[in-house]
């Protein structure tokens, strides 16, 4: 027998609260964990629930005694699952309005970051207060612009005031080496005074500045700012960049967070949650300190041009819930609004979403894994069960057919009665684990079945991997007929600047046509609804429950979703489509390409004085931040394709697409 299913032995299973994708990544020592000289030291893990109160939901360091060694049966790894059973009473007390289904997410620590014994923080405090103030205080601002991204040149001229002043109030480089006396427990914080002092000391030597924020080839790790074009610099310029001589700059201070490269690099994107949540908390905290100092209340707009695929959707992703709670908490504490603007996503044509016809009691999928893929692939099947089954464990039969194989024996999957345990089976090939199936029943009548399949090419490593080609997945409900069945393939590619690449798997469906008969890309689902692959439902999974945003009161909305368009106001073919049936929505579209043949829009390159083009909804979102914060551009009701959303933002096309405006 080539393939077999095996339930894990008791001492071979991961912690029941570890989410299945993290478990797979850690138990397989994914490439990203091995990256950046990840030895035993760097394999040490840091785990926490996502919650509204900050880094540490425990009282009086009680979690410190709860470090669990060996969470994935590897003696060189230990973690900090903050939701162990004994923690739950205190968690419940602290977060009575919090997440219904506490799950543990594990993030690897950046090199030089804290070890578990170092993690010490009292609730509500994000590091000791910054007592230093810039020599020239900023005038009272009208809005604060936040950004969470990777690769931001915080010294770029577009973020300066005059020659050496800075509009950046503070920046948290999460992946940077921690200073001995660092105010923050991992990464490094740059205050405005520190940024200005560095700019003053460096004069016109930008290399000297960039070396201090990661372009140091003597240090291990990834250096997004070593490239001519960096995602965060470009996005922040679109959101907040101004000429340094523009006096208006003082009205729009910036708070920046860069995610650890290890997290950005993980191809599935599943590691983004905790660093993002902490980054959002950080921006809110620093904004409040600043507003208190000035005795004012102004809105805070945070751009997040990153996306996730999969997830429970309908606003149920832990990260979405976290965003809501952080924003509500911020309003409670400061009286001001905190609004997140995120990108719709670029996966419209990635063939990563399939839906079963209405009333089907199952779904048959053809899942194509690319050859030459050094990283694992993940598939999530989301089943919405009718309300009546609320107290019943859901039960399914899964039949898997690997490429060139006959169907494997059917697997019976039953949701756990206590609703938050992921039941797991391993798929073995010649006795080696090459896959994992888990079922997780969520209290919202949603069951998520996650398939992990290993890499298809191990290089010179002597290990059994999964065959490339067409994997057939057939799932049938053994209990009630689900009211809705969807399947998502998780992201498996890597942002620019990283050496290794995943390869995006995709669904096969003979009824899917990428182009119409004239050869034009078909960016919208055909109206007759034939076939399984759906462009609708490709929206960024952290922005699935935000349909209540209105331009009349933009700050009332927690999150805005921005799609991309090209001239003449035509939705970009890659710009994701919302799934109406789940209440998803694209709110606004902004320009993401200058024309159908001139991809991208122009904004700052890594170095001062350069401009580069970057395409995608990533560059559309920050234009909406700029509109909210500075009033730049003109908002028009959308009269075109529904994919554009309610409104279309017309930005200054000479700035975004002009050839001559290169001096900035």
């Amino acid at each position: 027998m080539v393939y077999s299913w095996n339930a894990p032995a008791p001492d071979d299973s991961f912690h029941p609260r570890l989410d299945p994708i993290s478990a797979w990544l850690f138990s397989r020592q994914s490439a990203f964990l091995q990256s950046g000289e990840a030895d035993t030291d760097a394999g040490m893990l840091y785990a926490m629930t996502i919650d509204a109160a900050g880094f540490d939901p425990s009282d009086q360091d009680s979690f410190r005694a709860l470090s669990i060694p060996n969470p994935v049966n590897r003696p060189d790894i230990f973690g900090h699952p903050f939701s162990l059973d004994e923690m739950e009473p205190s968690l419940g007390a602290q977060f009575s309005n919090g997440i219904k289904d506490v799950q543990v997410t594990v993030v690897p620590l950046p090199n030089g970051g804290p070890r578990s014994a170092d993690i010490l923080r009292t609730a509500g405090d994000l590091g000791s207060p910054d007592t230093t103030q810039p020599d020239v205080p900023m005038s009272a601002p009208t809005a604060i612009i936040g950004i969470i991204d990777h690769g931001i040149n915080i010294f770029h001229h577009r973020f300066r005031r005059g020659a050496t002043g800075s509009r950046i109030l503070s920046a948290w480089m999460q992946g940077a080496r921690r200073l001995e006396d660092g105010r923050i427990r991992f990464g490094r914080e740059w205050t405005q005074a520190e940024i200005e002092a560095a700019q003053d000391a460096a004069g016109s030597d930008e290399d000297a500045l960039l070396r201090q924020i990661g372009v140091d080839f003597a240090q291990p790790g990834y250096r997004p700012l070593g490239f001519r074009s960096s995602h965060g610099t470009h996005v922040l310029d679109l959101a907040a960049g101004l000429d340094p001589t523009d006096a208006a700059g003082s009205n729009f201070p910036i708070i920046a967070v860069t995610l650890p490269p290890e997290v950005t690099r993980e191809t599935s994107g599943s590691m983004l949650a905790v660093p993002f949540a902490l980054g959002l908390e950080y921006i809110a905290d620093r904004a409040r300190r600043f507003m208190t100092f000035h005795g004012i209340t102004v809105p805070v707009y945070v751009n997040f041009s990153f996306g996730l695929s999969g997830g429970p959707r309908a606003g149920l992703h832990r990260l979405e819930q976290t965003i809501s709670r952080v924003c509500a908490n911020h309003t409670d504490e400061s009286g001001g609004a905190l609004t997140v603007v995120t990108a719709a996503g670029n996966n419209n044509l990635a063939r990563g979403h399939a839906a079963a016809p209405p009333d089907a009691d199952g779904i048959d999928l053809r899942w194509q894994l690319q050859p030459g893929d050094p990283s694992a692939n993940f598939l999530e099947i989301r089943l919405e069960m009718p309300d009546a089954s609320d107290d019943e464990p859901s039960a399914f039969s899964l039949t898997l057919t690997p490429p060139g194989s006959t169907p494997l024996p059917g697997l019976e999957l039953t949701g756990a009665a206590d609703r938050d345990q992921a039941t797991v089976q391993f798929l073995q090939r010649h006795g080696a684990n090459i896959g994992q199936v888990s079922i997780w029943q969520n209290p919202n009548n949603i069951t998520v079945i996650t398939l992990a399949i290993d890499a298809t090419d191990p290089g010179a490593d002597n290990r059994t991997v999964a065959p490339a080609g067409e994997w057939q997945v057939s799932l049938t409900s053994n209990s009630t007929t689900p009211s809705r069945i969807d399947a998502w393939i998780l992201r498996d590619d890597v942002p620019g600047g990283f050496r290794d690449t995943g390869r995006q798997s995709y669904f096969i469906d003979p009824a899917y046509a990428e182009r119409d008969l004239r050869g034009f890309v078909q960016a919208e689902d055909p109206p007759d609804g034939t076939g399984q692959i759906r462009r609708a439902g490709t929206l960024n999974a952290i922005a699935t429950g935000v349909s209540d945003a209105t331009l009349e009161a933009p700050d009332d909305a927690v999150c805005w979703v921005v799609g991309g368009y090209t001239s003449p106001v035509q939705a970009a073919s890659y710009s994701a489509t919302a799934l109406d049936a789940l209440g998803e929505k694209t709110n606004i579209s902004a320009r993401s390409d200058c024309s159908p043949v001139r991809f991208g829009v122009k904004a700052a390159g890594t170095r001062s004085g350069t401009r580069v083009s970057i395409s995608g909804t990533s560059v559309a979102a920050p234009q909406v931040v700029r509109y909210f914060a500075m009033g730049d551009g003109q908002m028009m009701p959308n009269a075109g394709s529904a994919r554009l959303g309610d409104h279309v933002l017309i930005s200054d096309s000479a700035r975004l697409c002009g050839e001559r405006d290169n001096q900035n």
Binding site: V2, P371, G372, P403, G404, P458, A460, N462, R503, S615
Partner: protein, 369 residues
């Protein structure tokens, strides 16, 4: 946009190529400066040579001495060296079992006036079944997903593979002529032998199985299995692996050499002109050619005979660790238990070539410079 980026890298590739053609033009010009034209030389001789003078005989060269080799031009050297290997290889084809066998010849007492010959089977090849190729064609189709990534390499490698090995090493072609001669020899012989086996097995190419493969480079007219690129790349990689003194090797270079060979082989599948199974046969044959080269050079006393049996290959996929890992060549068995590549018991011997031993010794010494 990834597609755009790779398009841009293509463009930069083209500009690189034009740069190279410029450079070759310049080197031609400098060559022109070093060479006298016939018309010019007529005038120059007339001007200075004068009346015939007494002459003395030049220093004679030793008969049959390997050291004479260094006086020969590159193309002549390659002809001589190729014959040193190919003269010890012959082929058989058994109609009943549809097996092509490569034999190694051993000349006994080659310096005697009546030498004799021993013939020993070195490698056996039998083709996959048509059904296997149908399953393999699906893999070729799937591999097309990688074309955008690999197109630059594929285009380069239509012209040869040695350029992809030199960057793994401190290999300076100008300063290391014997090393270059040996890897060129490994490649030439791999090409000759692979062509013969291809001809005997006569396997059709992917474009004959499906109209949907649509190769991105012209499909060669010769047969598919074994892959010539795989044979050449593995022969070159393995020859370098055996040639470079251990004390001169960087950490992990053996693995890098074999991984590069496997990537070159896989690129032909990405291009749409080879099945993955062709690469298994080519890798096995490439290792074999490198072994013959080493044995003829006096570096090994025996060669392990091998067998490739394609029947039952099914949809087996080719990548490095299938054929080589932890410094060891692998027996390849499919998921269904069919043995695709195996080493046979015993050893095959061939006689040593004094010339090849001389060249090998000089090549190895180049790594000590």
């Amino acid at each position: 946009m990834p597609i755009l980026q790779s398009l841009q890298s293509l463009q930069s590739l083209q500009s690189l190529q034009s740069l190279q053609s410029l450079q070759s033009l310049q080197s031609l010009q400098s060559l022109g400066a070093a060479r006298a034209s016939p018309a010019g030389q007529i005038m120059a001789k007339d001007g200075i040579s004068g009346i015939w003078q007494d002459v003395t005989a030049p220093q004679p060269r030793d008969f049959g001495a390997p050291s004479n080799f260094r006086a020969w031009g590159g193309q002549s050297q390659q002809m001589i060296l190729a014959n040193e290997i190919l003269s010890r290889i012959t082929y058989g084809a058994d109609l009943d079992s549809q097996t092509c066998t490569i034999y190694a010849l051993e000349i006994i007492d080659p310096s005697d006036t009546s030498p004799s010959v021993a013939i020993n089977a070195l490698a056996h090849f039998s083709a996959p079944s048509p059904d296997d190729f149908v399953l393999q064609a699906r893999l070729v189709h799937d591999y097309a997903d990688l074309r955008i990534d690999r197109v630059a390499e594929i285009t380069d490698q239509t012209a040869g593979v040695i350029g992809y090995f030199a960057p793994l090493l401190p290999l300076q072609p100008g300063q290391m002529p014997r090393t270059m001669a040996l890897i060129q020899l490994a490649m030439d012989c791999a090409g000759h032998v692979a062509q013969h086996v291809k001809h005997a097995l006569a396997c059709r190419r992917p474009d004959a199985v499906s109209a949907q493969i649509q190769p991105i480079i012209p499909t060669p007219s010769h047969a598919s299995l074994p892959s010539g690129h795989a044979t050449e790349a593995f022969a070159v990689a393995e020859t370098l692996r055996q040639l470079i003194p251990e004390s001169r090797k960087t950490a992990g270079v053996d693995s890098q050499l074999i991984q590069m060979a496997a990537r070159i082989a896989a690129n032909r599948t990405v291009a749409g002109v080879h099945f993955p199974v062709d690469s298994f046969a080519g890798a096995m044959l490439g290792f074999c050619i490198a072994d013959v080269l080493a044995a003829r050079s006096g570096q090994a006393t025996g060669i392990a005979p091998v067998r490739f049996n394609g029947a039952g290959a099914g949809n087996i996929d080719f990548f490095t660790s299938q054929v080589w890992h932890d410094g060891t060549r692998q027996t390849v068995v499919t998921d269904d238990g069919a043995t695709l590549v195996e080493s046979l018991p015993g050893t095959v011997t061939t006689d040593m070539s004094a010339l090849l031993r001389h060249v090998w010794t000089e090549a190895a010494a180049e790594w000590d410079q």
